[in-house]
């Protein structure tokens, strides 16, 4: 789980640094601005997707907590 999270974080940081490089002071048709700025739409879809996946991760953790609580109740360790 920890490895997965750190690798995901690495990917996000990489994507961020790439998009930062793509920006310049003068708006030219490079990076996200190329092809009629269609990659801005792609990035926006990716933001939504990433947000939903993060939310699902948090819900996964919540369900895990519930399972642990229930297991503890059925087999008390103390």
């Amino acid at each position: 789980m920890k490895k997965l999270i750190s690798s995901l974080l690495g990917l996000v940081l990489m994507a961020l640094s790439l998009s930062a490089n793509a920006q310049s002071d003068v708006p030219m048709a490079d990076g996200l601005r190329s092809e009629g700025k269609i990659y801005v739409v792609v990035a926006i879809i990716l933001i939504v997707l990433a947000g939903l996946i993060v939310y699902l991760f948090l819900m996964d953790r919540k369900v895990k907590k519930l399972e642990d609580l229930l297991a503890e109740k059925n087999h008390p360790t103390k």
């Binding site: 092809e35 926006i44 109740k73």
Partner: protein, 203 residues
């Protein structure tokens, strides 16, 4: 699907199918939340409180996604991520107001007090959110479409070809939001049940 050919916006106009439904989803979920809060105040029950808090939770996620997508879009359409535009500021304040709702819930120990206080706060938060997002930005000049008019029915903002994609997208995202909300309500119900069992054991 063809879209109108506009300067500066270019193909980014397609982001409308993703950015705007987020806000539709947020407003729908916050409305559901305030509806359950009012029901809770009329006749308190843990189930109504669960529905109110989880609708607000999923609504906040939609709002944050709407904010992030809007910021990226703003960078390429307006020139920078944050402009201090009335629409951006209003939406940011509304999100903070709802964030405070969860902080309020986290700061009260007693469950019934927590539910009642947060239900009252929720009504105020909703009453603050509507003018912040829908009224103030339209009274002032804003870069965001829809200032000084009703954007939803403006033929210059949305033509018929786009409506055929946009409206199903709105309905779809709202349904996704409601579905996630019901899942979270059920999870919270189970959590409450486990805690109730625990209390019975210790007493």
């Amino acid at each position: 699907m063809d879209v109108p050919r506009l300067n500066i916006l270019n193909e980014t106009i397609r982001a409308l199918y993703f950015h705007v439904p987020m806000w539709f989803g947020m407003v729908t979920l916050f409305s559901i939340s305030v509806y359950y809060s009012i029901l809770y105040l009329r006749k308190p029950s843990p189930e109504l409180d669960r529905k109110a808090v989880e609708s607000a939770n999923v609504g906040l996620v939609f709002g944050i996604l709407g904010m992030l997508t809007g910021m990226l879009w703003a960078n390429y359409a307006w020139g920078s991520f944050w402009h201090g535009d009335p629409k951006q500021n209003g939406a940011a304040i509304a999100l903070l107001v709802y964030l405070a709702y969860f902080i309020l819930r986290g700061s009260v120990e007693n469950d019934e007090q927590k539910a009642r206080l947060s239900a009252v706060y929720n009504i105020f938060a909703f009453a603050a959110m509507i003018p912040l997002i829908f009224i103030i930005p339209r009274l002032t000049s804003s870069l965001h479409p829809g200032s000084g008019g009703n954007p939803g029915f403006n033929m210059y903002d949305l033509d018929n070809r786009m409506r055929m994609v946009f409206y199903p997208a709105v309905i779809g995202w709202i349904l996704v939001g409601i579905w996630v909300t019901t899942l979270r309500v059920r999870m919270r119900a189970i959590e409450d049940k486990i805690h109730d069992l625990e209390d019975e054991k210790t007493h």
